[in-house]
């Protein structure tokens, strides 16, 4: 079985995001960038399936600017076999990304695509679902457990009311949630080895996908600031303030 794992380069989850003064977006100059945390979980899942012998090849894919290659190197160091980089400067919306992934699926014929459930920059939570729709494949979203089941795969999904189990026919799309696994850190020897692994380059034009955005960004603003910071000295004072002053209890 062959698995495709799309990964995205995003602002590191520890970085405090700053909105640009001209309201055109957030400031990404000189900030730490990393692989989207959910995508690390996706790579880890694919690599574990390879280690368990159910998967023969793990192909990492990214779509983005030249520097996104670093993210592919991370995936390769974690254990992906090879990588594909669709080079594109500027924003890509989930629909365009999914269309390009669908083309790569046609070329690569994987049995499964494993994605993060959302990217922590645009927080859209769409790409996996769109890709399944475009391909007409089964979809298991927000997955916290994956088991093989006769001819297909059984997934546990984290839903609003608890957990749900769904059986998926192959080929399948999975989008992974935080509790599926704890991604490994790549070891130094594996980082060195990853430098020699192949990264094939492509462009959206070669894939024949129109990447023109459908959404116009009118402006990006800071959220309203909360005036916090007030302290109380005791439990009695806390209850008294909540009850008498703000009246919420």
């Amino acid at each position: 079985m062959k698995v495709l794992v799309p990964v995205k380069r995003v602002i590191d989850y520890n970085v405090k995001v700053r909105v640009k003064a001209d309201q055109s977006g957030v400031d990404l100059a000189n900030v730490k960038m990393s692989m989207n945390p959910f995508d690390e979980i996706a790579v880890e899942q694919a690599v574990r399936m390879k280690e368990a012998g159910t998967v023969t090849e793990v192909v990492a894919v990214t779509l983005g600017a030249e520097q996104s290659q670093e993210t592919l190197r991370t995936a390769l160091a974690m254990g992906a076999d090879r990588a594909i980089h669709v080079v594109h400067d500027g924003e890509l919306e989930p629909l365009a990304v999914a269309k390009m992934l669908a083309k790569l699926v046609e070329e690569e014929s994987p049995d499964m695509v494993i994605l993060g459930k959302q990217a922590i920059d645009d927080d859209a939570n769409q790409t996996g679902q769109i890709l399944s729709g475009l391909l007409g494949w089964s979809q298991g979203t927000f997955v916290s457990k994956v088991e093989a089941s006769d001819g297909g795969v059984k997934v546990t999904r984290e839903v609003d009311a608890g957990l749900e189990t769904v059986a998926l026919k192959m080929p399948a799309i999975l989008t992974v949630d935080l509790r599926l696994n704890e991604p490994r850190y790549a070891s130094l020897p594996n980082i060195m080895k990853a430098r020699k692994k192949e990264i094939a380059k492509k462009t959206p034009e070669e894939l024949g996908v129109d990447t023109a955005p459908r959404l116009t960004i009118v402006k990006v603003e800071e959220p309203p600031k909360r005036q916090g910071g007030a302290k109380v000295g005791s439990v009695e004072e806390l209850v008294s303030k909540l009850h008498n002053d703000v009246g919420v209890i």
């Binding site: 989850y13 405090k16 995001v17 909105v19 957030v26 989930p94 629909l95 999914a98 959302q118 922590i120 920059d121 927080d123 939570n125 769409q126 679902q129 769109i130 890709l131 399944s132 729709g133 007409g136 089964s138 979809q139 979203t141 927000f142 916290s144 984290e158 839903v159 609003d160 009311a161 608890g162 957990l163 749900e164 189990t165 769904v166 026919k169 935080l178 955005p213 459908r214 959404l215 116009t216 960004i217 009118v218 402006k219 990006v220 603003e221 959220p223 909360r226 916090g228 910071g229 007030a230 302290k231 109380v232 439990v235 806390l238 209850v239 909540l242 009850h243 703000v246 919420v248 209890i249």
Partner: protein, 317 residues
């Protein structure tokens, strides 16, 4: 213009999040039609028909629709899309699962998790865990939108008298099958709609210690939530998680206990009206957003809180 709202429900009850989505749809302007897709869900359709601001209810009933499988529901939505200017769903796990798949079938770029309707084609949505708010304008012919519940008041459950119409077109795509659910049986108010929420973090140290929070919750009629760290550690089930990747809550009062206040947690609760916290580390970031911060050991402060509430005779509203 007509707007289609996908109803989230469990075949017995209409979810509150659907009421919030109806409000958002009405702000977009147009007659609101609610689609109830399920099986044995007549009660849900009847409830939807009574909601203020709903002009029509379409009910699609089929075994293939019972469990909200995206592979079966998305084609149904896509198939009826052409008569509508907008397709709207609550940003619940069902909405998030189904809508982008329907959007793919229609070649539409969905707008996720909106917090404001600026005009019929322009919406505000949080990005970067709510550290920035983007105003985006959709150029697609049909706007597909999911709605953040806490940002819109629920539409009134009574007051409407919409016609209910059965629709066909449901089919089993044969791609996936529902095997079962492990739902937390919880007698307390639902996290996303509760007036008061008390959440515990890693500082709680164990699942058993959450009993302390539950006792306070019972006195206040509150829901109990948690940080990711508390869920990851197995103290409480996943559906307790509040944050960027969990549930978004905006109660009248949010009490964070033994939670440091990471940006991913704040993303899910910083729109609460009043935030109180109990943390022994006065440097913890949660204090920066708290209106009432108490620097204390939670193992003393929480039992003391319960005792004080009892002493003052404070009861759930």
């Amino acid at each position: 213009m007509a707007i289609l709202v996908y109803a989230d429900h469990n075949n017995a009850e209409l979810s509150t999040a659907t009421l919030n989505a109806v409000t958002a749809a009405n702000e977009m302007g147009g007659d609101v039609t609610v689609l109830v897709a399920g099986d044995g869900c007549d009660a849900v359709a009847a409830a939807a028909a009574k909601v203020a601001g709903v002009s029509k209810v379409l009910v699609a009933q089929d075994a293939a629709l019972k469990d909200h499988l995206a592979e079966n529901v998305a084609p149904l939505i896509a198939g009826m899309a052409s008569g509508y200017s907008h397709i709207v769903a609550p940003a619940t796990t069902n909405g998030k699962n189904i809508m982008p798949r329907a959007a793919a079938l229609l070649d539409i770029q969905q707008v996720s998790d909106i917090t404001e309707v600026v005009s019929p084609d322009t919406f505000v949505r949080p990005i970067y865990a709510g550290n920035a708010m983007a105003t985006v304008q959709s150029t697609d012919a049909i706007k597909m939108v999911t709605v953040r519940s806490t940002s819109f008041d629920p539409a009134a459950e009574e007051g409407g008298s919409a016609a209910v119409e059965a629709v066909g077109g449901a089919a089993d795509a044969g791609l996936s099958s529902f095997e079962g659910a492990a739902l937390s049986d919880n007698e307390r108010p639902e996290l996303t709609t509760a007036r008061v929420v008390i959440s515990g973090g890693r500082g709680m140290q164990s699942g058993d210690n959450f009993a302390m929070l539950e006792e306070v919750a019972d006195l206040l009629g509150a829901a109990v939530g948690a940080s990711r760290a508390a869920v990851d550690a197995g103290y409480v089930p996943n559906d307790y998680q509040v944050g960027q990747t969990g549930k978004v809550v905006a109660p009248e009062l949010y009490i964070a206990v033994g939670i440091s206040g990471a940006i991913q947690h704040l993303a899910g609760m910083k729109d609460s009206k009043v935030i109180a916290c109990i943390n022994k580390d006065e440097e913890a970031p949660i204090f920066q957003v708290a209106d009432l911060g108490l620097v204390a050991d939670l193992f003393e402060a929480v039992p003391a809180l319960k005792a004080e509430l009892e002493k003052q005779g404070i009861q759930a509203r």
